[in-house]
């Protein structure tokens, strides 16, 4: 196979506050036709810059200081704007991370996907339409004719990502640049999109430059990988070689496992008890002319959180897990049923987005003193001492006292959030996806901090996440939520060994296993179709429309929450009561291998 894409000695500088910082430093790599090359690295390591430079999409502050980018025998940097745009979008196309913003909101899907055909070919309207329809059905979208007439806001995130891939593939490019294409998606959708990319690669022979910070994703899809750190390539080679036997220090920390939780779940005293909890959510506030919309998000939920445990709550986005968190900490008061908790519990919350959770106009010291002021500690000196103590406890130091949040990295901000919660004398920490916005290496540091304060202070943590790997490693018990109902609840080892609910099984199947036998992954060609949004029905099992094993009974009648565990509690809400696992067991032989 011939060489398709060659980057040599590429150096990109970025202008910031009058300084020129090199973000990509003397970067060289090449790709053959039909190769899938992974680029892995933290945010700021220059991986996206490289892709943007190839597409000619660098922001005006970024300057290419040196090097060449050859594509298909042409020097991309020497081409004029016109010549370059004849290539990009046709022979070379790109899919972006954010499916919500990468499509034009005022253009219909059909027109949007056909746009590059209109620009780059002289096909007639009918031919373009035909190609668009084929491209849309190729990416697993049902009813492409109807879809062409829709606008992006009518589609779900997964569907938009598919549309974007169709848009990129419609001209049959030789090279597809995928910049974190699955990062913003749910586990299940992520798995489907990766399968789709692999299918397109196999059928069309398109080369893919796959940029990601997630090693599991890279391992799943790529043949070769380069590891970037601070604008330099620190390691390169075959994916398995690099990930199994990392040589560079940075790759080693990247590959290093998620910290394990070793403490046993000791006491069985419930500190939070929820019985028949129904939680509602208001879409918008009512005004003069519009009534407020009220939706039921949590339905008849029963759950106890025990003192000193790490409880994991898992589910897709929109399943109600964040609403549950807000209800427990008191941000949502629109519920009925029982929600009992210890009086001095002071549940505190750690939010997902580290950039929104600290007041940008206040210094760290002020932010962390606020819980002390609420607690009534009057003297400034006392507050300062307590904050400085806490800063060291959370792995920062007292020099952070006078800094503003924008001077801190995502991980440092998340530490400050945790510290502020602890200063409130909280005994229950509700962590809503606390690490999913962070880089992999920072993730493990924050998890270590959480485990550390959990062990030292006996803190109870409600850990909400969509990342099954992390939940498995740090939690004691796991509750799986689907459409506002707990469908399965069991100790962590039990649920991973013996997932009983079809939905739990589906989650585990889509979670990237990191299995070494790569051929096994190519067998199921199920790239999935997008499921219409389901609402809580009055009768029948809520999972009915998506279930592989559904029977007539499931449609008519809702199953109860029953204990199927032999020696430990294992609740499941399914008529099969876990008996379906026997046939599916081979899927879990590989186990959840964590890298």
């Amino acid at each position: 196979m011939g060489m398709l894409f060659d980057v040599s000695h590429l150096t990109i500088g970025f202008e910031d506050k009058g300084q020129m910082n090199k973000v990509v430093n003397d970067l060289s790599f090449s790709m053959d036709e039909g190769e899938i090359l992974g680029v892995v690295g933290e945010s700021g390591s220059g991986k996206s810059m490289t892709a943007l430079a190839a597409m000619g999409l660098l922001s005006p502050q970024a300057h290419i200081l040196d090097g060449t980018i050859m594509f298909d025998g042409k020097d991309m940097l020497a081409l004029s704007e016109k010549e370059r745009s004849a290539i990009s979008g046709k022979d070379m196309s790109m899919i972006f991370q954010e499916p919500m913003t990468s499509l034009n909101p005022v253009m219909k899907i059909g027109k949007q996907v056909g746009e590059s055909l209109r620009l780059h070919t002289s096909l007639s309207k009918e031919q373009i339409h035909e190609k668009v329809i084929r491209a849309l059905s190729d990416v697993g979208l049902s009813d492409p004719e109807g879809l062409c007439k829709k606008y992006p806001h009518e589609l779900s995130g997964g569907m938009r990502q598919r549309v974007m891939i169709a848009q990129a593939m419609v001209c049959s490019p030789k090279l597809l640049i995928a910049d974190e294409p699955t990062t913003a998606l749910d586990v299940i959708v992520q798995g489907q999109i990766l399968k789709l990319l692999r299918k397109l690669h196999r059928e069309r022979g398109v080369a893919i430059l796959f940029i990601s910070h997630d090693l599991n994703v890279i391992r799943e899809i790529c043949q070769n990988v380069i590891v970037m750190y601070n604008g330099d390539i620190v390691e390169r080679g075959k994916v398995l070689d690099v990930l199994e036997h990392p040589k560079h220090e940075y790759t080693k920390t990247l590959v290093a496992s998620i910290p394990d939780n070793t403490t046993a779940d000791r006491k069985r005293r419930p500190i939070v008890t929820m019985e028949h909890l129904n939680v509602f959510y208001r879409d918008h506030e009512g005004g003069f002319f519009n009534k407020s919309g009220r939706q039921q998000v949590i339905k008849e939920l029963n759950l106890q959180v025990y003192e000193g445990e790490l409880m994991g709550i898992v589910g897709e986005s929109g399943c109600g897990k964040s609403t549950l968190a807000k209800t427990i900490v008191g941000l949502n008061t629109d519920y009925n049923g029982t929600l009992k908790m210890d009086e001095d519990l002071h549940p505190q919350m750690v939010f997902q987005d580290p950039f929104g959770s600290l007041n940008p106009a206040r210094r760290i010291g002020w932010i962390m003193s606020e819980p002390l002021r609420v607690r009534g500690i009057r003297t400034k000196r006392e507050r300062r001492n307590m904050v400085c103590d806490m800063l060291t406890k959370i792995g920062l130091d007292s020099s952070f006292y006078d800094r503003y949040p924008h001077e801190l990295s995502g991980g440092q901000r998340q530490r400050v959030s945790i510290g502020a919660a602890l200063l409130m004398n909280s005994r229950l920490l509700v962590a809503d996806e606390p690490v999913s916005a962070l880089d992999v290496t920072v993730q493990s540091q924050i998890l270590e901090l959480l485990l550390d304060i959990h062990k030292k202070g006996g803190l109870t943590i409600l850990f909400i996440s969509h990342d099954l790997n992390i939940v498995r490693h740090i939690c004691h018990r796991v509750a799986v939520i689907y459409l506002g109902q707990i469908v399965e609840l069991a100790p962590v080892d039990e649920i991973y060994k013996n997932p009983c609910h079809p939905y739990t099984q589906m989650l585990f199947e889509s979670a990237l296993s990191g299995n070494d036998s790569r051929t096994a992954h190519f067998a199921p060609d199920d790239i999935g179709a997008d499921i219409e949004d389901t609402v809580i029905g009055d009768t029948g099992c809520p999972f009915y429309p998506r279930c592989k094993y559904r029977t007539q009974r499931c449609e008519a009648q809702a199953p109860d929450f029953v204990n199927v565990g032999a020696d430990q509690e294992h609740f499941v809400r399914c008529f099969f009561e876990g008996k379906i696992t026997l046939e599916k067991n081979e899927l879990h032989n590989g186990d959840m291998h964590i890298i």
Binding site: E285, F288, Q348
Partner: protein, 270 residues
């Protein structure tokens, strides 16, 4: 590796601050010391053209124009500061309460806001003054009320934006009360847009005060004010143009200074 390149200076802000600072200083000095008495007339030197003794000339009563501009711009600044302060303080409270709590009170107050904004402000000011009667204090009151909506809008939109952010939620979880969240947590975030609005507000206030005094509704004679001087100079425009030039140019430069400050602040925000 870092390569230093030329750093852009915020010239708008620097020049704006210098201009405004200069006139503010002049106005301040004008309250305590002027080359000649502000009100005393000298029949021997009526309508003297600019010369060494009277750099800006004298008016039809023989009063020194430089002295009157110095003292009069003090009045202009005083009215502008009072109106902007009144608008900013009341506007902040109104905007914070309506934005944070929302609901039907918000709807009513914002509709009143819209009504106020839909009329030309000078027309409304005239209306208020025809009720209150002419005079400096009444001009301040009338203009101050007119300035409330623009500040209320800024604070309200910032409240609505911030109240959904996680740092506000996290303060709520800690048990911080709503007023503390509004005025201690969220309000500092509005500082830059408030300063920009204040600079624009000063501009409008200077102009409005000048027009009020020009129409004879503001500062009453014999006290000088830039607008009043312009109106008096009108009849002598062809014979003694310096009478109109000095206060006119002063107004222009003060407004230019404030405009440049607001422009510069907007660049800081970015």
């Amino acid at each position: 590796m870092k390569i230093s390149i030329k750093k852009k200076r915020n010239y708008n802000l620097i020049i704006g601050l210098c201009l405004t600072g200069f006139f503010a200083l002049m106005a301040l000095v004008g309250q305590f010391w002027t080359p000649y008495s502000v009100t005393s007339m000298d029949p021997l030197s009526v309508n003297v053209a600019p010369c060494l003794a009277h750099p800006f000339g004298t008016d039809n009563f023989g009063r020194d124009i430089l002295s009157r501009v110095m003292n009069g711009s003090g009045m202009t600044f005083f009215v502008a500061i009072c109106t902007v302060l009144m608008g900013a303080v009341i506007g902040t409270v109104v905007g914070a309460l309506t934005g944070y709590f929302g609901g039907w009170i918000d709807e009513i107050i914002m509709r009143i806001n819209d009504i106020l904004l839909s009329f030309p402000s000078v027309l409304l000011a005239l209306l208020f003054i025809s009720f209150l009667g002419p005079g400096t204090v009444n001009v301040i009151l009338a203009l101050g009320i007119l300035f409330i909506p623009s500040f209320a809008r800024i604070v309200r939109s910032e409240m609505i934006r911030c109240k959904e952010l996680d740092f506000v939620k996290s303060a709520k979880v800690m048990g911080v009360g709503p007023f503390r969240i509004m005025f201690v947590h969220i309000l500092p975030n509005t500082l830059v847009s408030m300063l920009t609005a204040a600079a624009i507000g000063f501009n409008n206030a200077v102009l409005a005060e000048a027009s009020m005094s020009y129409l004879g509704l503001g500062v009453q004679p014999p006290l000088p004010s830039l607008g009043r001087m312009l109106s008096e100079a009108q009849s002598y425009l062809f014979n003694t143009p310096w009478y109109a030039i000095a206060p006119g140019v002063t107004i222009i430069l003060i407004i230019l200074g404030f405009s440049m400050i607001s422009e510069g602040l907007r660049a800081v925000e970015r």
